[in-house]
């Protein structure tokens, strides 16, 4: 049986969850179970970075108005120690807190106050007194301070690699050696992490804000020493994740500990300041880059060395050198990574681990070399593009970076700079983007019920990525039914386990699972059809599924149609099938999404203020599943890139290993006015070697390279090269007034 598919995949379909979101009816974690009147849990946070609690007094807090309980390590109940067992992935290990007197970092929870209202809980928390006998915290203070080779890097990259032969003097006509730094950063999803938990009759029901459901269940089971079958986790709407909600964090553990203790539903919704300490952030980086090119402006050396902090007891390190390894061919390529264990809150994935900050430095350095070698930075990049993987020699499934750069430059108007107004200069910048693509095990089931509705189920999440919509589109096209007839249910641990949202792999992986589920479902239906419906096709007409036993455009005499309901017994409904993808569904060739970023900026020559005029990008990421939502994803990444280039950075108070600016007042994400024109185009070429739906990741492609294009535009405008991100105006101003700096 075939399906006659009306093309829906790729179309700019409006988000199916749009009406809920624009009317404020989409429910996020802290908004669930309100009819059960959850008690409010407010964490008491350590004011010392690392040490042991020597004394903790909760008596006054316990006596305060409305307080049900105050939980500390003394009464939190059975918990598996933090990060145990060591051989589980970090998303499935114990994430216990309140299980020992040891304080791992500033802001770590030392107690949980549970009360009727937020005001009661928050005030009572201020009545808890405690003493921590602290030790001097370990922090990464210089490049050489990072001596440890990480066991592995996010994305599965090897920490240290080299290829080719180091260049001799004849191979070096131009060279640069620069040190770049990027600051600590944080995902800052608009929805602070929050969890509501209810423990009833040994069963745990949890609503939280998480990107990956299946591992959340495992993490809770391990942490609370429960059976996973006794836990249900739901996260139907996530107010932004960006890596910070890949795993479960302290809010979830605290809420569950609380619910278990008071035997009533408990809600822990972190304050914005608490998010900085109780959930992960991205560590700062120090990147030593040396590049050289020969007389023909061919790259002869790319050496990238990275130093970053790693949170003690938490195995995560990012591959800042990934871009250096794959973007350009070079006679010699070397990339190394070193880390140092530090006493800071968790350091984990933040949008585009590795590439977001690696590209800031590397693509700036490439520009530096281009200028040194006296060649246009765009031409230089195009000239040095690889055909196969520059280090491994293996082929790419698709590789359109050259076209993105060439066509992108045309559309952007690379050669045409507007005239600046008085006291300003204008510059153009370019940067390449390469972001690895993977397919991850994922499952979904698709059902047709007796009412003719299609229902898709998966524990997959929609974190703003548009999952609800693209899965509806895929099912709609596969089953020839309108998108409105497809109901997508997500974010429930009782549904088939998916890969979750992260690493830009969600859409392609789960989308492919849905595609396969639809294929399996149609095959299943075929198997139940009577003999005369051999070669039948299934489609929906006037709200009813019908089967027709001939391909379309056949003559009336041989066509035979019937309602699906008439040829399949009603007791067989709902008809459903599960689809799964695995590594068998993806090529082992090199897989990357790629793109070219362009930026136009205006710089004030007196104050150094940078104003973004235009951002443009051209991207190649296989089949685009929904032009509207995909464009939004990319634009969102480009806005992040602007923030990374110009405004974002967590400042450290080193004595206390705490943060100076843990709130939105002083951690500056871009505001609306910071962003001007943002445009993009996709170079579409479905990549079926990457996934059955032909799509590749885009969630992290938009941020990779966006900031560097801006940095390069700033240099083009005023000849100031700032190597310490973010490029705030004082750095530009001082560079203009003192070019020797």
């Amino acid at each position: 049986m075939t399906t006659h598919n009306q093309p829906v995949i790729g179309k700019a379909v409006n988000r199916v969850d749009g009406p809920l979101k624009v009317t404020g009816r989409a429910r996020y974690a802290a908004e669930h179970m309100s009819e059960r009147n959850p008690l409010i849990g407010w964490p008491v946070s350590s004011d010392t970075a690392v040490g042991e609690i020597t004394n903790i007094d909760t008596t006054e807090a316990e006596r305060a108005d409305g307080v049900s309980a105050v939980i500390t390590y003394k009464n939190a109940g059975p918990l598996k120690p933090f990060s145990k067992p060591a051989d589980e992935s970090r998303f499935t290990q114990s994430r216990a807190v309140l299980h020992e007197p040891h304080i791992r970092h500033f802001g770590a929870p030392v107690a949980l106050v549970i009360a009727n209202t937020l005001e009661q809980a928050r005030y009572a928390a201020s009545l808890v007194t405690f003493t921590v006998k602290g030790n001097a915290p370990d922090l990464l203070t210089s490049f050489d301070d990072a001596q440890q080779k990480p066991a592995s890097l996010d994305g599965g990259f090897e920490p240290d690699v080299t290829s080719g032969e180091k260049p001799h003097d004849d191979d070096i006509r131009s060279e640069i050696e620069s040190v770049y730094t990027t600051p600590s950063q944080i995902s800052a999803a608009m929805e602070p992490h929050a969890t509501v938990a209810d423990f009833k009759d040994g069963k745990l029901e949890v609503y939280c804000s998480v990107q990956i459901i299946a591992s959340a269940v495992e993490a809770l089971a391990i942490t609370l020493e429960m059976a996973p079958e006794d836990i249900v986790v739901q996260s139907p709407y996530v107010g932004g994740g960006f890596g910070s909600k890949l795993g479960l964090h302290y809010d979830a553990i605290l809420a569950c500990i609380g619910a278990r203790h008071v035997k009533q539903p408990v809600k822990v919704a972190l304050s914005r300041r608490q998010v900085f300490y109780n959930t992960p952030h991205r560590g700062h980086s120090i990147q030593h880059i040396s590049l050289s090119s020969n007389a023909n402006r061919e790259l002869t050396n790319i050496t990238h060395k990275s130093a970053m902090p790693k949170a003690k007891g938490y195995e995560f390190a990012e591959a800042t050198g990934a871009g250096a390894r794959v973007t350009y061919k070079s006679q010699y390529i070397e990339s190394t990574h070193r880390v140092k264990d530090v006493d800071l809150p968790l350091i984990d994935s933040t949008r585009s681990p590795g590439d977001a900050i690696g590209s800031l430095a590397f693509e700036s350095a490439i520009d530096e070399l281009a200028h040194k070698a006296n060649i246009d930075p765009l031409t230089f990049r195009i000239k040095n593009l690889p055909v196969v993987h520059p280090m491994k020699g293996s082929p790419f499934t698709t590789h359109n970076l050259g076209e993105c750069l060439r066509q992108g430059a045309e559309k952007f108007g690379w050669q045409h700079k507007p005239s600046p107004s008085e006291g300003k200069v204008i510059g153009h910048g370019v940067a390449s983007a390469m972001r690895m693509n993977v397919l991850v095990e994922s499952s979904a089931d698709v059902e047709i019920n007796a009412e003719g509705q299609v229902i898709v189920r998966s524990d997959m999440t929609d974190i703003g990525t548009g999952t609800y919509t693209i899965l509806a589109q895929i099912a709609a096209e596969m089953l020839s039914t309108p998108v409105e007839n497809v109901i997508v249910k997500l974010g429930d641990s009782r549904f088939p386990a998916s890969c979750g949202s992260g690493g830009s792999f969600g859409a392609a992986s789960t989308g492919s699972a849905v595609k396969k589920a639809c294929e399996a479902l149609t095959q299943k239906i075929m198997a139940t059809l009577p003999g005369e419906y051999k070669n039948a096709r299934l489609r929906m007409e006037q709200g009813e599924f019908i089967v027709t036993n001939a391909p379309d455009n056949s003559t009336a005499s041989s066509a035979k149609s019937a309602l699906l309901l008439d040829v399949v017994d009603k007791s067989a409904f709902p008809l459903s099938a599960t689809g799964s993808v695995s590594q068998d569904d993806t090529s082992d060739q090199e897989q990357y999404s790629c793109g070219a970023h362009f930026a136009e900026v205006e710089v004030d020559t007196l104050t150094g203020e940078v104003r973004l005029l235009r951002q443009y990008g051209m991207f190649s990421a296989g089949q685009i599943l929904n032009l509207k939502t995909a464009s939004s994803q990319i634009k969102g990444g480009m806005v992040w890139g602007a923030g990374y280039a110009l405004t974002e950075g967590i400042h450290h108070h080193t004595d206390s290993a705490s943060f100076v600016n843990p709130d939105f007042g002083e951690y500056h994400i871009a505001v609306n006015r910071d962003i001007a024109e943002v445009n993009l185009d996709f170079l579409e070429e479905p990549d079926y070697a990457a996934s059955p739906v032909g799509a590749k990741g885009i969630g992290e492609l938009g941020i990779t390279g966006a900031g560097a294009a801006i940095a390069n535009a700033i240099y083009d405008a005023c000849k100031v090269r700032v190597r310490d991100f973010p490029i705030t105006m004082d750095k530009v101003m001082l560079g203009i007034s003192d070019p020797q700096q």
Partner: protein, 341 residues
């Protein structure tokens, strides 16, 4: 948030019937006080809500002054001053601050009395002489990008964050207060704020029982006016450096000058040394640079805010040369340098 006793004040309430101690706070809009109370940086035992004090919500004027009620919202004041060419500086300053949402609640008096946004003032785990006298100043040897270069002491270098106050300093506003005995007095805004010295917890000359009733701004020509705010993002951020300036020229020389700096002082900064150099002078890049140097001779830098000296100098040059050029072309001009109303 610490529990508090709530009282209400309106026009008919005798002030002396209210508990006006040092743990009492008047609640105007609340956009600063509630923020601080949630963090327990402010822990009043008594709150006196001014929400019902409708009489303070009016803007009036007589021959010599504009009178702005204490409870007039920042957005209402911005709209009013936008329509008065000689108050353009005030409108520009107000509109550069915060957001529409905050300006709709923030009040005139509340804006003047808002507390610093120093990171360590806000962080109750950090030593802060303003929050806890005698505990130390965490900003001195740590990140201090947003901190002051004028009016500092070894006890406190926190910046006053208001834009409106800077414009009002330039316009020589007066603060009218009344106390529990119904005595009234008027204090020049230029004398209203106290530098931290060794008592950074005392920020103004107000007594515990004094309530600001209205602000008076003398009517005067201010010429071409420009409030230039330089900050780390294009909106919704405090000034790193701001310059409020209004200028008229007569025969090529400075005739009237209104000038104040923001983002650089422990209080909104009235740059007397710079003004002395500029008054009556023929404006040139050199004279402006001299004026900047004269004022900057009082400046102290603390490590992460060293750039503010250059930034202030450059911003002053930008502002004064722009408005002087405009005055030269349009000698009788009264209003904003740029106005696209």
């Amino acid at each position: 948030m610490q529990p508090f006793d709530l009282h209400h004040y309106d026009h008919s309430t005798p002030l002396n019937s209210l508990p006006l101690t040092d743990t009492t706070r008047f609640l105007a809009g609340g956009t600063n006080l509630i923020d601080l109370m949630k963090l327990q940086v402010e822990t009043p035992n008594t709150l006196i809500s001014l929400a019902k004090w409708k009489e303070a919500n009016a803007i009036t004027q007589d021959e010599a002054h504009y009178h702005i009620g204490a409870m007039v919202s920042n957005s209402a004041l911005a709209k009013f001053s936008h329509d008065e060419p000689s108050l353009s500086l005030l409108a520009q300053a107000l509109l550069s601050g915060a957001t529409v949402q905050l300006r709709n609640r923030a009040t005139t008096a509340g804006n003047l009395l808002q507390r610093t946004r120093c990171y360590y003032f806000y962080d109750t785990t950090k030593a802060c002489n303003k929050r806890e006298p005698g505990s130390g100043c965490s900003a001195l040897n740590s990140m201090n990008r947003i901190h002051a270069i004028f009016g500092t002491s070894e006890h406190c270098i926190a910046t006053h964050p208001s834009d409106m106050a800077v414009a009002m300093i330039a316009l020589d506003a007066k603060v009218n207060v009344k106390n529990a005995n119904n005595d009234t007095r008027q204090i020049a805004l230029r004398e209203f704020y106290r530098e931290p010295g060794d008592t950074p917890q005392i920020e103004t000359v107000l007594a515990n029982d004094e309530l600001i009733t209205h602000i008076s701004i003398p009517k005067s020509r201010h010429g071409t006016q420009y409030y230039h705010k330089v900050r780390d993002r294009s909106s919704y951020a405090f000034a790193l450096v701001s310059v409020a300036a209004g200028l008229t020229l007569k025969e090529g020389r400075v005739d009237t000058l209104s000038l104040a700096f923001g983002g650089v002082g422990t209080k909104p900064w009235y740059p007397q040394s710079a003004i002395r150099v500029l008054e009556g002078a023929e404006l040139s890049q050199e004279v402006i640079a001299q004026a900047a140097e004269a004022e900057l001779s009082h400046a102290k830098v603390y490590g992460s805010n060293n750039f503010k000296t250059t930034l202030l100098r450059n911003t002053l040059v930008r502002v004064l040369t722009s408005i002087a050029a405009h005055q030269e072309k349009h000698p009788e001009h009264e209003g904003a340098l740029y106005d696209h109303a």
